[in-house]
Symmetry: C2
Subunit: 148 residues, 2 copies
């Protein structure tokens, strides 16, 4: 049997690299962490600070400062939540949505290119495999449970 971890390590390294490369779009340049923050804000609907920080497994104080930067860059908006005034709801500004969408397009473009080297059947199998993997990881009790 091949080394399982090695397979994962190579895959995630490549995907991580792709993520890093996709951080500069249309003249705007953001860090990898910031790109992940935009992604999560977009994915979760009207999340609070704490929710996004949790989803990214990020220290809340570091996260708070990153959000301050993103607000200054006019990519993220912080809205007080009337029902609980401790909480701020995060959302993407128009510009933030644009950046997130551009990154998403570029990522999917690359992934399509990768899948173009496979048959349709292989592609379906790979995607189903990843989905299965994600489900099983979610079930696992060894680590990282609280998240997701």
């Amino acid at each position: 049997m091949e080394n399982v971890r090695e397979l994962f390590q190579v895959m995630t390294k490549r995907f991580g690299l792709l993520n890093k490369n996709c951080c500069s779009v249309g003249g705007i340049e953001i860090s990898l962490v910031q790109s992940h923050i935009l992604y999560e804000i977009d994915r979760l609907k009207e999340p609070s600070m704490q929710q996004v920080a949790d989803a990214l497994a990020m220290d809340i104080t570091t996260f708070s400062r990153q959000i301050q930067t993103l607000v200054k860059m006019n990519l993220v908006k912080k809205t007080p939540y009337p029902k609980d005034r401790r909480i701020y709801i995060l959302s993407l500004t128009t510009e933030g949505k644009y950046v997130a969408a551009r990154i998403d397009t570029e990522m999917n473009q690359y992934l399509n290119e990768v899948f173009s080297h496979m048959s349709e059947f292989e592609k379906e199998t790979v995607l189903r495999s990843i989905k299965l993997l994600n489900d099983c990881m979610a079930k696992s009790s060894v680590c990282c449970k609280p998240l997701f």
Copy 2:
């Protein structure tokens, strides 16, 4: 069709988290970056500084300083290369090997646990899928070519 990037993002986030969690073993505590460095030194046989930095897509100056730290921690050894005195060969010390092995064990343990939620057939399919994916990513010309 589901969102392909989303699938990858979730998977790599989980795996990244696992990597982070596996950074403290047997009383020794290292950073995620340092864990990756140990892993690559172990994987490549007698690599130079530049080779490992390239494999990790890391800035060589940052890498140089990380190596200094790891040498001080007695996890990595730097050996001058006689045939080209500009070059240093990196290797793991006994302690470094121990840490890397412990991390590897822990990672594989978790992965086994994840796969225990699948049938043997599913497991084989998933592993073959990842291998195929890695091959196709290597073939791809869109990004990240120089590496690997």
